[in-house]
């Protein structure tokens, strides 16, 4: 079981301990009589002495208006300050101090702002050995837009990250071996990395750029670290920079690192006289500076007190070239060849005296990065929420988006909500086409999924969109023809067993689905093709167990029609994990290799490469295996 699942299992199990213990620890529980008696005596004594003035203080009603920020009216950030002030102000739940004191046990902690970042630079040694020619190891969504990963390679070496340790392996068939390892550390010890670090390998294979995302006790902190790997046996740190906030995503395009990070405004620390408490800080080498007002974009009505900060950094020098910020928390991010699309999910609420309706909505903002500076190009709001980056695709001036729609209606009784089961409640799916010149929707296919289903996976390939939706263990897979957006047509498989967490376009119009079979303990890999009237499941491979929903852990080799996945089989008395390599020959899926992996690994960290007829597999626990698949 993955560590994430274990953590939640532990917390869930704590929820099932003896109820008397839970009740005993209840923060709203009254203290014991003995202690209460002494406190009441003290309070009674104070009340007796201060009765009149205390009564006045207890019952003076609270104001329900946000505090005035007029003193900052001269600030160039005044419009932003007003918006943040309105957003972060919480009208009091109590009418006066008397009600507040009665509920004194419900003090709630808030998040803190990120700590100040520090810039450290280290001169690293440069080697003279060549590290080979760059080979793309990650199946990037958009050609030329490189995605971060825990594996990268050249034609000579494989670079693989375990936790915060970078390992370098030679590529030499069954004689391949570990060449070196390098651990990334923080000098002041105030930072801990919670997950395996993603990184990039430069086009000349001499530099590895690591993105370190972690948490200290009061917030997020992001470092970009440049390593000299020109001599893989003597890796050295060249430079590092730090940014306040936590990582959302990143891409590398033509030697420029596009970093998206989140910076949260802490209500507890908010002080409009101190800009570091409400503005993201960027250090471009001359100390920390705040972003200018024209580099901060925000909707008219804020729904989040978190920024998404987009930063462009030169890969080689780690020089910060430009930054912009959206005052909204970003969910998924899609990056095309010249633009970044940042999505923000929120709920649209309609209410009156009789009913309350909430619908999930998504705002998509477009930022061009291909020029010297970022250029904001507008936003569009759609119904529903996107699953991930694959739910968006830009092609020939049109943005295509697939969302899961989710509307719920409640019958309202005065100020509270009575649940009401209504037939129109439920989820479905929409497909949108947005004209990027105007950022307006020009075509929509609404509610194409059966009611109650959610989008499991999406893939765009040219003028075709593939969508898998499901409710539990059955799905249709849809093929959309987007060649004429004024007349979008689609076919589907009808209800079939299982669902796909990932859809991958193969050559020749075939679609690969990786996910779940007839039950959650059956892993399924299936190929689909488009028929005259419907989408046809062509062939499949099933085995006991499950495949982690982690796209980058899959081996996708379109050129050789290969797919590789790690499958965890927990249906037996002991857990077994195996790596399967399959080949699609146009009509069937054939198993080429079945390799046992160590137990208790996180299969999301598994990576594999097929190089010159050999399968290279790397996982946690220093596992590295090379298998000749031509035999």
């Amino acid at each position: 079981m993955k560590n994430d699942e274990k953590k939640f299992k532990v917390l869930n199990s704590i929820g099932d301990v003896k109820e008397s213990y839970l009740s005993e620890a209840d923060p709203q529980r009254e203290p014991r009589k003995g202690r209460t008696g002494r406190r009441l005596l003290a309070i009674a004594a104070c009340v007796a002495l201060l009765l009149t003035s205390l009564s006045l203080w207890l019952f003076i009603p609270y104001s329900n208006d946000p505090p005035s920020v007029e003193e900052y009216s001269d600030s160039e950030y005044y419009p932003l300050i007003q918006k943040i002030n309105a957003l972060t102000f919480t009208p009091n739940r109590f009418r006066n101090n008397f009600e507040m004191l009665r509920s004194k046990f419900f003090s709630i902690t808030s998040d803190k702002a990120a700590p100040e970042s520090s810039v450290e630079a280290a001169d690293g040694a440069t080697g003279t050995l060549t590290t080979g020619t760059y080979v793309e190891a990650t199946d990037n969504q958009v050609a030329g837009v490189i995605e971060e990963d825990i594996i990268k390679r050249s034609d000579r070496y494989i670079f693989y990250m375990r936790g915060s340790t970078l390992s370098v392996y030679t590529i030499d068939g069954e004689d391949s071996k570990l060449l070196s390892s390098y651990s990334i550390t923080h000098s002041d010890g105030s930072f801990s990395a919670y997950n395996t670090l993603d990184f990039y390998l430069s086009a000349d294979c001499r530099t590895v750029t690591v993105i370190e995302n972690g948490y200290v006790a009061n917030g997020g902190y992001l470092s970009v670290i440049s390593l000299d790997v020109s001599d893989p046996q003597n890796i050295a740190e060249k430079k590092r920079i730090s940014i306040s906030g936590s990582k959302i995503s990143s891409r590398l395009v033509d030697g420029k690192l596009l970093l998206l990070s989140g910076f949260m405004i802490s209500k507890n620390d908010l002080d409009f006289s101190d800009e570091s408490t409400f503005l993201p800080q960027i250090d471009s080498g001359n100390g920390f500076e705040r972003l200018k007002p024209d580099r901060i974009f925000s909707p008219d009505e804020l729904t989040s007190s978190s920024y998404t900060v987009v930063t462009k950094i030169d890969e080689q020098t780690l020089t910060l070239e430009d930054s912009v910020a959206f005052l909204s928390y970003s969910n998924s991010v899609y990056v095309s060849k010249d633009s970044i699309y940042v999505t923000r999910s929120f709920s649209d609420i309609k209410e009156d005296d009789l009913s309350y309706e909430t619908s999930r909505m998504t705002e998509i903002s477009r930022m061009r990065y291909s020029g010297d500076k970022f250029e904001y190009l507008g936003s569009v709001t759609l119904e529903g929420y996107v699953k991930d980056q694959y739910s968006l695709d830009e092609r020939e001036g049109v943005l295509r988006v697939v969302t899961t729609t989710d509307t719920r209606k409640y019958k309202r009784a005065k100020a509270t909500y009575a649940p009401l089961s209504m037939p129109e409640n439920g989820t479905s799916a929409n497909l949108y086409c947005i004209d990027l010149a105007t950022m307006e929707t020009v075509a929509t296919v609404e509610q194409f999924a059966p009611l109650g289903e959610t989008v499991r996976s999406v893939r765009f390939d040219g003028n075709t969109a593939y969508v898998c939706t499901s409710v539990e263990l059955s799905d249709p897979v849809f093929f959309f023809d987007l060649s004429d957006i004024n007349n979008i047509t689609y076919k589907d498989t009808g209800t079939i067993e299982g669902f796909s967490n990932s859809l991958i376009d193969l050559n020749d119009g075939y679609l690969l689905g990786i996910g779940v079979g007839s039950s959650r303990s059956v892993a399924k890999i299936e190929i689909y093709e488009e028929g005259e009237e419907k989408v046809i499941p062509l062939c499949k491979f099933e085995t006991a167990g499950y495949i982690a929903d982690s796209y980058k852990s899959y081996l996708i080799d379109r050129e050789n029609s290969l797919v590789g996945v790690a499958v965890t089989d927990n249906t037996q008395s002991s857990v077994e994990i195996k790596y399967y390599l399959l080949h699609f020959n146009g009509s069937h899926l054939t198993k080429l290799a079945e390799i046992p992996l160590p137990r208790a690994i996180d299969t999301r960290s598994t990576r594999a490469q097929v190089i010159d007829g050999h399968l290279y597999i790397l996982t946690e626990g220093n596992f590295f295996k090379v298998e000749d698949i031509t035999k």
Binding site: M1, N3, D4, K6, K7, F8, K9, V10, L11, N12, S13, I14, G15, D16, V17, K18, E19, Y21, L22, S23, E24, A25, D26, P27, Q28, T90, R93, F105, F106, S107, I108, T109, S110, D111, K112, Y194, Y215, A217, G219, I248, T303, Y329, S330, N331, F346, S347, T358, Y410, K411, A413, K414, A415, T416, Y417, A418, P419, N570, V575, R599, A600
Partner: protein, 183 residues
Amino acid sequence: MDDKTIVELYLDRNEAAITETDKKYGRYCHYIALNILASEQDSEECVNDTYLAAWNAMPPHKPQRLSTFLGKLTRNISLSRYRRDHAEKRVPATELILEEALELIPDGGDTSSDSEAISLALSDFLGTLTKRQRIIFLRRYYYMCGISEIADSLSLSESNVKTILSRIRKNLRAYLEKEGISI
């Protein structure tokens, strides 16, 4: 209104049950959700989902302690939501608690023990603690309270609370390993 009467409203399918639940436990449920999600909007939605879940559960369920029942529902709904969204939306305070929870997981074991066995073992272990230790542990890992809030409510220093929690985690892990419990 007392809990018995509120539960009877649920059993009678009287929608006043929701109104009364919200009056008495609305803030309590919101508090639990907010501790996990750190978002007013998400917490409101989870509290609404709690009422729906309570409405669907009663009948046939008839909880002995309504506050504990509602608290568990809210907690489970909020954790599920956090788990669903947390790849994109991390709350530092909640992430810290999750990382601390990792320290409770015993080494070894190919097969995970079933949830009932784990909960029984946890209950037995909690029975060996003093009342104060138990309260600190559950406020942190059940009610998902911050360290400063726990310290403030029990008139302890924050470092004292951290030390107590660290010891309990270590002892619990050893206890689970001794009992052959794996997660």
